[in-house]
């Protein structure tokens, strides 16, 4: 998936567009949308605690069945519980939330038993019917996240259990069910407000004003241009222990975010780039980890697109021509080399020793062998999106200069995401600079880079191009045993590094800046941070 985390100049424009979402979003009798009295959470009653989180907004909707943008994930995560989840900073082990599960040996049948006694924010119990409705609705809406449950059939077994069945083994399904999009909604409430499990559903406007989940927080107010106010769900009886009575998530420019958190006007800032974090004032903490976003080069193996790039020698030359350390330096704090396409936080990620290495002499030799004699290739990339604060233009300029050093000449061709995405998806780019954010927390997500798979095809890498890797891809999709799975993905990663038409470059840093009084700040690849997990020291 590509989610948009814009920064700097573009964020300004994004904020502008976001501002406009509101009036229609607000629905109901409030055309202006922003008429709630008082000054947001600033006027919280004494004694009550509140926390202010600054981020750059990218919200289209907070209907769990439809949302698929980073800010939406943060909010939906706090408002809706999922059947399964991941705890704190763990990104590999699925744990029970609204239900516990068992699967058959083939990983084709998953049986969920609902946790007893859990209730929605209106006090009504969370039932199997709610779970079935929510998952079927996600599938039926045909919205952005609907693909998550492609090929999964959902059925109610009895009042305590439901069963999910897939045709092919799907060891990744539990991780998928932990994504906020699979949040369980109050089916009665949603249906009363136009909800259904097909395209006739009209509950989006309702869900943008009122949350209908069983999560630790409920929605108090949402202004897609400026802020979201969450308050503690008084009826919450799940395993989490939310600390703050009010959580305010505000749309703030990165430069302003930095000033705010330094001055204590906000407690958490999510939108600072690796560069900005380098010059932070004293008195704030930073959680810097490599994000799960992988920035990579795509080298087209279709000779019709480029004779030169389709040569295996050429791919080898590019892989050795890049000085990975210098890319990390540009990416700033928290960044790390992407050892393989599977980012470091997931099962099956490669060790540092397996990563691609810079070797100018080898690159030069390979480039010559491929017949690169200074003919101009095109390096295309989107220039209005900065994945996790990393400016792709800067990165492309550095890559261009490194390739030039070994005799490979490229012209840079930046374009707005909206224009470039077409050439990328159609496999028309000679060399592309792109990135991949995980859709769910399982390495199976990355098998899309295999020959004949979604992303593989974008590099002109067709089915049958590499039998060994294809074999590993199909094993990756179906192997259930954890230890075996780890080995399969590592083998796959190594094979991709050796022979695949992709060059994993960097995982930009995820930098969460926060006041020392705040505890429980953990980076999550899908929902960034869990605001209900934030504590106070």
């Amino acid at each position: 998936m590509i989610s948009t985390r814009t920064s700097g100049l573009r964020a300004a424009a994004a904020a502008g567009a976001a501002a406009l979402l509101l009036s229609a979003c607000g629905g109901g009798g409030e055309p202006g949308g922003t008429t709630s009295g008082g000054a947001g959470g600033q006027t919280a009653k004494s004694g009550a605690t509140q926390i202010v989180v600054d981020t750059t907004f990218d919200i289209k909707t907070i209907d769990p069945g439809r949302e698929y943008e980073p800010t939406g994930q943060i909010l939906v995560k706090a408002l809706y519980d999922t059947l399964l989840t991941f705890a704190d900073d763990d990104t590999t082990t699925v744990v029970a939330d609204l239900a516990s599960y068992q699967s058959n040996d083939d990983q084709t049948e998953f049986t969920f038993t609902m946790a007893p006694g859990r209730v929605f924010s209106d006090g009504s119990p969370v039932t199997v019917d709610d779970a079935v409705f929510s998952l079927k609705r996600l599938q039926g809406l045909k919205g952005n996240p609907s693909f998550l449950l492609d090929g999964v059939s959902v059925e109610k077994v009895d009042d305590q259990t439901l069963k999910l069945t897939t045709a092919d083994p799907s060891p990744a399904l539990p991780a998928v069910l932990a994504t906020p999009s699979c949040g369980i909604v109050n089916s009665k409430l949603v249906q009363e407000n136009g909800g259904s499990t097909d395209e006739s559903d009209a509950a989006e406007e309702f869900l943008n004003q009122t949350s209908a989940g069983s999560g630790p927080y409920v929605l108090d107010k949402l202004d897609t241009a400026s802020e979201a106010v969450l308050v503690k769900n008084p009826n919450y009886n799940g395993p989490q222990t939310p600390v703050y009575d009010t959580v305010i998530v505000r749309n703030t420019e990165p430069a302003t975010q930095k000033m705010n958190v330094e001055r204590g006007d906000s407690q958490v800032a999510l939108g600072l780039s690796g560069d900005m974090v380098e010059s932070l004032a004293d008195g704030v903490e930073v959680e810097s980890v490599p994000s799960a976003t992988v920035v990579f080069l795509l080298i087209n193996s279709d000779p019709a697109v480029s004779e030169l790039t389709s040569k295996p020698e050429f791919v080898k030359a590019v892989k050795a021509a890049i000085d990975y350390d210098s890319l990390i330096e540009i990416a700033g704090r928290g960044a790390a080399q992407a050892n393989g396409l599977v980012p470091s936080v997931f099962l099956g990620a490669l060790e540092d020793s397996e990563a691609l290495k810079y070797d100018a002499a080898a690159a030069q030799a390979a480039a010559q062998a491929a017949g690169a004699t200074g003919q101009k290739l095109t390096l295309s990339f989107p220039n209005d999106i900065d994945p996790t604060g990393l400016n792709l233009t800067t990165l492309a300029e550095r890559i261009q200069s490194q390739l030039s050093a070994v005799g490979i000449e490229v012209d840079l061709a930046p374009a707005p995401f909206a224009t470039e995405i077409d050439a990328y998806r159609d496999g028309k780019e000679q060399i592309g600079l792109w990135y991949w954010n995980p859709d769910y927390m399982d390495p199976a997500n990355y098998l899309a880079f295999g020959p004949g798979q979604t992303v593989g095809l974008r590099a002109g890498w067709k089915q049958g191009a590499n039998a060994a890797i294809e074999e590993l891809v199909s094993r990756g999709y179906t192997t259930g045993d954890l230890a075996e799975r780890k080995t399969v993905f590592e083998e796959w990663g190594k094979a991709m590094n050796a022979d695949g038409p992709f060059v994993p470059l960097v995982q930009p840093g995820s930098n969460v800046v926060y006041q020392p009084s705040v505890t429980g700040v953990y980076y999550n690849p899908v929902w960034l941070i869990n605001v209900a997990g934030l504590g106070q020291s």
Binding site: G16, A17, A19, S36, I421
Partner: protein, 363 residues
């Protein structure tokens, strides 16, 4: 493009001799202008429509998530929903059909009615643009008049230099420098956006936060909104002052050479009286024109300024829409700005009849 160089005489209304004839001439003139204005608006929709359809990219991929865009069923549904499965002329006609009912369509990006989006963005931009045009007109015309009055003297030289620097400032650069100095270094100005995060917007009446806050009596919100307005308005004012100073000076100097002014001087009226009674009034027409034109160019200038100050106005919306291939949103912006431009022009044209001194002096 510099409005100062546009021909101020374009479209001057015919000024008939008799009152009755003048009125009917004026009415005919207004009617003609309105017809032309409507024609221009249609032309604009056509131009934007063609331009945005020239784009090599497919708006569907941009509007849908990457995974959703891989699903032919979802793509087909999206195309049907937004009428993209029809031929281009059919799409354009459908757009015009909706336009007649004041329906600007739905933005693919924001999923909301373009009209509703614009209703949020336009007041935000107008808030800066009004402030800038009023400030710039007051200062610029004063400077211009002063400069013309002291023609050739040191004051004139200094003011000419100042106005020259004004029109030479790259607004995007001024904006960054101001933001850096007044916000980042000195901490005098608040950060980007229209309000400090956490301050709720006042009840929506005009959409301009300062006005709405006053109407609602929310003093604190008013102060906050004004503080946020200050820097972007300042940057746009600086540029516009230069423009207006230059143009007022030129117009006033031209009027100084007119026969009726010479006649007034010859009558022995003191220079001051001549200057204020005859010259300024004579120059009012072209100056008014350029104030109108400057307002149009201000709307353009806001694109760059808004992008630096994170101002959720028309410029940001236009930028976002253009780069996301959001066809209907781009057309909506084109319509609104064209409408503003035409209204301003019309207003200026009509104002001629009331303040053109030749109508009075020539009596």
């Amino acid at each position: 493009m510099s409005p100062a160089s546009a021909n101020p005489d374009a479209g001057r209304p015919p000024s008939g001799a008799g009152g009755g004839r003048r009125h009917s001439a004026l009415a005919r003139y207004v009617a003609k202008r309105l017809v032309i204005a409507v024609g221009l608006l249609f032309g604009m929709t056509l131009v934007t429509f063609c331009l945005t359809n020239l784009v090599p990219g497919d708006p569907v991929a941009a509007a849908l998530g990457q995974r959703a865009a891989d699903d032919p069923e979802i793509v087909a549904r999206f195309r049907t929903e937004y009428g993209l499965d029809r031929s281009l002329p059919a799409q354009y006609l459908a757009y015009l059909g909706r336009l007649i009912r004041f329906d600007l369509g739905t933005s693919w990006q924001t999923h909301h009615a373009v009209a509703a989006d614009l209703a949020k963005a336009v007041p935000a931009t107008m808030e800066i643009a009004f402030g800038a045009i009023v400030g710039a007109a007051l200062i610029g015309i004063t400077f211009g008049a002063w400069s013309a009055y002291r023609r050739g003297l040191a004051t004139d030289q200094v003011l000419r230099l100042v106005s020259l620097i004004g029109i030479s400032l790259p607004t995007f650069w001024t904006a960054i420098v101001c933001f850096y100095v007044f916000y980042y270094r000195l901490g005098w100005a608040p950060g980007s956006g229209r309000l400090t995060p956490g301050v709720a917007a006042p009840p929506n009446v005009t959409g301009m936060y300062t006005v709405d806050a006053l109407l609602a009596g929310e003093w604190r919100t008013f102060v906050d909104a004004s503080a946020h307005l200050a820097l972007p308005t300042l940057v746009l004012t600086l540029y516009t002052i230069g423009l207006l100073t230059r143009f007022s000076r030129t117009s006033i100097l031209e009027v100084l050479d007119q026969d009726y002014v010479r006649a007034a001087k010859a009558k022995g009226l003191p220079g001051r009286v001549v200057f204020f009674r005859y010259v300024l009034r004579g120059a009012a027409v072209p100056v008014l024109t350029v104030v109108g034109l400057a307002f149009g160019s201000l709307l353009s200038g806001t694109v760059l300024v808004e992008s630096v100050f994170g101002w959720p106005g028309l410029g940001s919306y236009a930028y976002q829409a253009a780069s996301k291939l959001d066809l209907l949103a781009v057309m909506g912006v084109g319509l609104v700005v064209g409408l503003v431009y035409l209204c301003v022009n019309l207003a200026v044209d009509l104002a001629y009849g009331f303040i053109d001194p030749r109508v009075r002096v020539g009596r």
